[in-house]
C-alpha cells in the first residue's frame, strides 16, 4: 500500500497536503482499495464553510455511499471537476489526479491534529487485526 511520507492523514482515511495557502484533500490508497469501483462523487460547493471532521463530500461505489470528512476547518477553495465525469480517477490515481477538493484553512494549526504516514500506517495495521 502506497502512503506518501509528505502527506498528512486523518483517522477517516483522507489525506491532506499543504500547497501555498490551501490544503489539498483526497482519500488514501487504503480507502480506495476498500471502496473499490467508485462510480460517483459528490463534491462540496466552492466557498462552502467547513469544519474539521465534518462530512463534506460523498463517494459512491457500486455497493454503497461513503462520507468524506474535512481534514481542516475553512472554506472550500477549489474542487476537482474531473471527478464528475471520471470518478474512477479515485481508484486509479488517488494522490494526484484523483484529488477531491482544497480548503483555505482558518487556522493553520488544524494540521497538527492530523497524522504522519507512520502513525496512519499503524492505525490501518491495528484495524486489520
Amino acid at each position: 500500500m502506497h502512503l506518501p511520507a509528505e502527506l498528512l492523514y486523518t483517522k477517516t482515511h483522507e489525506w491532506a497536503r499543504r500547497e501555498a495557502n490551501e490544503v489539498v484533500v483526497g482519500i488514501t490508497s487504503h480507502a480506495q482499495e476498500e471502496l473499490r469501483d467508485v462510480v460517483f462523487v459528490e463534491l462540496p460547493k466552492v466557498g462552502k464553510t467547513v469544519k474539521q471532521g465534518e462530512a463534506v463530500a460523498v463517494i459512491e461505489s457500486v455497493k454503497a455511499a461513503f462520507d468524506i470528512y474535512a481534514p481542516v476547518s475553512g472554506a472550500v477553495a477549489r474542487v476537482n471537476d474531473a471527478l464528475v465525469k471520471s470518478p474512477q480517477l479515485i481508484n486509479q490515481d488517488c494522490y494526484a489526479t484523483g484529488w477531491m477538493f482544497t480548503i483555505s484553512p482558518n487556522d493553520p494549526g488544524d494540521v497538527s491534529n492530523l497524522m504522519p504516514s507512520e502513525e496512519y500506517t499503524r492505525q490501518i495495521e491495528a484495524g486489520a487485526h
Binding site: F40, E42, V62
Partner: protein, 384 residues
C-alpha cells in the same frame, strides 16, 4: 456458524472479499465488481451459487402438485425443459420465485432462493397432491453458473453432455457426473449462460477447469449488477410475501386459465380491483446510485409528491449510468415518465424505461480484465 459452500476454501485462496448472504459466507467480489461484470458481459465468468436450494419433486402426481402450488402451467413444460415461475400464499403474495426443471418423465428439479429453502420445502410438502415426494437434495451438491458469450464454447470442451445444442431453458443430464447431475441453459445475468447442478466433488474439479480456461470468478456483487441491468427481480428486495405477481410485473408467469392454484382467487380479486403499485424500471443520465428505500417523486398537476419507493439500484457498467427498480402508483409506469429520486436531500431526475435495461449481447466476445488469459484460451480446456 455461517454456512459454507464446498468451494469456500477456493474462494479464500483466490482472495475473495466474503460477505454474509442470508447466513451463507459467500464471495462478494474477487478483484472488483465492475471488472467481474465486464467479464461476464464480454467473455466468461463462473459463479458459485451453491447457497441456492435444490429440491426434487417426484412421483406420479408431481406435476399435479407443482400445478397446484406454482402460478405457471407446469403441465406444459416438456421433458428436459424449464420454467421460471412463482409460488404464492393464499393472499396472492409471492413466497418465492424459482425455476422448475423437468429432468425426467415425472421428475422435477426445483431451484429455490437460499433464504426461502426451508419455507419452500415446508410449503411444497404441506400442499403435495396424491403420490408426490419432496426431497431437499442440496446437501453435498453444488451449483455453478457459467455465464457469458463464451460459455457454450468453453463448456463444450469440458462436459460430456449436450451443450452448444441446448436451447434456452433446456436442461440435459451429465451422465458422467452421477445421478441428477445436469446442466441447463439458464442464468441470472440476462445473457447467454449455463447453470450446472452437481455433486460437490465434480463441482470442485469443474470450477478449477473453468478458471483454467480463462474464465473470471464472479462474486455476488456483480451477480447483483448483472441482474439489475437485465431487469431481473431479486426476492426479498424487489418482491416478497406482500407483493403479487401483477405488482411485480411478472404477469407473464401466471396461467390464469388454470382451474385452480394457490393464490388464484386473490389474483382474480386484485385484477378486478386494480393495482395500488407496480414495479417499474428507471434510469438516470448521470448522478448518484438510486438505492433501496429511497423515495420516488413525480409531478402531479403542477405539484410534486411521493409516488413510490426504490427497491433495487446500481450503476450499470455497460450502459454507464445509474439504474433503478422500484414500486410506484401504476399511473407513473409508462416509459418516458419522469420520476425524481431523492438522494441525500437532493433531487435527481430519472426516466421510466421498459425492462430490461440491457437487452443482450452486442459486442463480439473478447477477453479482457487485469489478468488476461492466454490466446490459447480455448485449446487449454482440459479433455473430457
Amino acid at each position: 456458524m455461517m454456512h459454507k459452500t464446498a468451494l469456500h476454501e477456493r474462494h479464500r485462496a483466490l482472495g475473495a472479499k466474503m460477505t454474509d448472504f442470508h447466513g451463507w459466507e459467500m464471495p462478494l467480489y474477487y478483484t472488483g465488481i465492475l471488472e467481474e461484470h465486464a467479464a461476464v458481459r464480454q467473455a466468461l465468468g463462473v459463479f458459485d451459487i451453491s447457497h441456492m436450494g435444490q429440491v426434487l419433486v417426484t412421483g406420479a402426481d408431481a406435476v399435479r402438485t407443482l400445478n397446484h402450488v406454482m402460478v405457471s402451467d407446469i403441465s406444459q413444460v416438456g421433458k428436459h425443459r424449464a420454467c421460471y415461475t412463482l409460488m404464492l400464499n393464499d393472499t396472492g403474495g409471492i413466497i418465492d420465485d424459482l425455476i422448475v426443471y423437468r429432468i425426467g418423465e415425472a421428475d422435477y428439479l426445483v431451484i429455490v432462493n437460499c433464504g426461502n429453502r426451508t419455507i419452500d420445502v415446508e410449503w411444497l410438502t404441506a400442499h403435495r397432491q396424491g403420490e408426490t415426494a419432496i426431497t431437499d437434495i442440496s446437501q453435498g451438491r453444488s451449483i455453478l453458473a457459467v455465464q457469458g458469450p463464451l460459455s457454450s464454447r468453453v463448456l463444450e470442451h469440458m462436459i460430456d453432455a449436450k451443450v452448444a445444442g441446448l436451447g434456452r431453458f433446456e436442461i440435459a443430464p451429465i451422465r458422467t457426473m452421477g445421478p441428477d447431475a445436469c446442466l441447463a441453459r439458464t442464468g441470472y445475468t440476462g445473457g447467454d449462460g449455463f447453470e450446472l447442478f452437481l455433486p460437490d466433488h465434480h463441482a470442485k474439479r469443474l470450477w478449477e477447469s473453468i478458471l483454467a480456461s480463462g474464465a473470471k470468478p464472479i462474486g455476488l456483487g456483480a451477480r447483483d449488477t448483472l441482474r439489475v441491468e437485465a431487469g431481473l427481480r431479486l426476492y426479498g428486495t424487489d418482491m416478497d410475501a406482500t407483493t403479487s405477481p401483477f405488482e411485480a410485473g411478472l404477469d407473464w408467469t401466471v396461467a390464469m386459465n388454470k382451474p385452480a392454484f394457490i393464490g388464484k382467487e386473490a389474483l382474480v380479486r386484485q385484477r378486478q380491483q386494480g393495482l395500488a403499485k407496480r414495479l417499474v424500471g428507471f434510469e438516470l443520465s448521470q448522478g448518484p446510485v438510486p438505492r433501496t428505500g429511497m423515495e420516488l417523486l413525480a409531478d402531479v398537476g403542477g405539484a410534486t409528491r411521493r409516488v413510490g419507493i426504490v427497491t433495487s439500484g446500481t450503476f450499470s457498467p455497460i450502459l454507464k449510468r445509474p439504474l433503478g427498480m422500484g414500486y410506484v402508483e401504476p399511473v407513473f409506469t409508462a416509459p418516458g415518465t419522469v420520476l425524481t429520486v431523492i438522494v441525500r436531500h437532493q433531487r435527481y431526475h430519472g426516466t421510466v424505461v421498459k425492462l430490461p435495461f440491457w437487452k443482450g449481447e452486442s459486442a463480439p466476445p473478447t477477453l479482457t480484465g487485469s489478468n488476461p488469459p492466454t490466446k490459447e484460451f480455448l485449446s487449454h480446456a482440459p479433455p473430457r
